[in-house]
Symmetry: C2
Subunit: 278 residues, 2 copies
Amino acid sequence: MAPASIGLSPPRCAMALSGQANYARPVTAHGTDRPLPLSVDRTSPVPLYFQLAQQLEAAVEQGRLAPGALLGNEIDLAARLGLSRPTVRQAIQSLVDKGLMVRRRGVGTQVVHSKVRRPLELSSLYDDLEAAGQRPATSVLRNTTEPATAEVAAALGVAEGSEVHLVERLRSAHGEPMALLRNHLPPGLLPLVTEELEATGLYRLMRASGVTLHSARQSVGARAADDRQARALAEPVGAPLLTMERTTYDDSGRAVEFGSHVYRAERYAFEFQLLVRA
Amino acid sequence: MAPASIGLSPPRCAMALSGQANYARPVTAHGTDRPLPLSVDRTSPVPLYFQLAQQLEAAVEQGRLAPGALLGNEIDLAARLGLSRPTVRQAIQSLVDKGLMVRRRGVGTQVVHSKVRRPLELSSLYDDLEAAGQRPATSVLRNTTEPATAEVAAALGVAEGSEVHLVERLRSAHGEPMALLRNHLPPGLLPLVTEELEATGLYRLMRASGVTLHSARQSVGARAADDRQARALAEPVGAPLLTMERTTYDDSGRAVEFGSHVYRAERYAFEFQLLVRA
DNA sequence: GTCAAGCGTTTGTCCTGACAAATGGCCCCC
DNA sequence: GGGGGCCATTTGTCAGGACAAACGCTTGAC
């Protein structure tokens, strides 16, 4: 309706990531004034805008493009690279969407003043604390089917009482238990082999089975450890735990997973970054 | 480097929102086959692509575009509206970015199969549980300056020991305490009037003072309530609390706020939605 | 000295046109 | 009847041009 109503601007978060990765990178390399070496390969199957975006992103990452530095106007940039302006704009826009750059009409495009640099190109939800060098270990506690409770049925969109898969895992890092993971999956979605579940993450298995993950709803809270949780996680009963419930959907809108997880508060925290969208 | 490396796809979250809003909307209105009434107003200052995007979004919202429904090809749509294809694409792309639609080459664009529909056009971080009908109340416990501790100094990018603002607030809803909010701000950013702080949220005040919020880093965890927290929140000592630490940056990369908050686990949870970006 | 108007610069929006690549269904052949 | 190849459809990518709107600086007036 109204042109620029925007009362409060809805934040858009660039990524949610795993536990306790705290990379305070200094990056004091300031901007040189020589024009950034940029080039595109027209024989490559990689889209031109994507090539450019990657190069710019790498330049920001390595400090060759200093925070606050102007990018130079799009027309010249396009001419220099032998590209059209829309292509250059598409490249820059993707970086703006990632929160790496800010555009200002009449001023130019500048690199966002660092510090915000995204924590990592983090990806899957937590089976990739592996990427943080945590060497995760998983032990499968249960891997069966059971009748869906009302809560699970509602989340997965199946009939209450119908059989669904249940996987319960204990995830450890450095030999210490970190989280207790309960997942319910609709029947017949993919074969759940205990050995595979102990070797890798659930999301990777799902993707490998051709499931196209699309979105997820999460709810993060806290609770006191009950008896069973305390035993599994080697915490005293009543210890504060971080809880996460998540329903994941695929492309077609099917719910493909309902997870109900608890983490040891001492050893885990969710870190993520929000962008305020224009 | 590689064209479509994408190992694991980094999720991108559409928004983070407030507490305990659970709107399970049925929306069983299925797709009619009559062509959606769409039109654009070329005399309006609102960009054409934005007009179109809004209309499509409204149609999805109201169920006039059923989940899974094909949108019809872009060429025809453009012709029907008297627009060019790039403009139509820009409109659709913005909805794809929001997670409302999925494009498939050779197939078309379809509305994502509901259920995922975003929880609300949520916005500010939590002073808008007001929007959830919670009628929040804030009481300011402290509003002073104090020397920055090492942690605060690092977060705000000021010298350790230099004076920074400190605001401590207790936020309640329905007369019950919900959260204890501690915020540190760099000196001179904006005047912090106790009366204003009790009447509205910190973010709104900052925006009203011309601060352009850009991004934030958050860390969410859990802990047991200490003495002081327990008293303020009317919980027993040792009760599980949900904790959140956040550093917020403006356009220029300046840190404009460092918050350290605790929430009653019984009364509060973070809900948000992640999108897996292509 | 201060404030306002003007101007160049840069991004925002929009158009037309074209070819490439992926998908899915149809048809033909075996 | 089943399988493979062809083809129409649809989105993905890219070019080149045009005008509008916003910003910042400079110039000019008071």
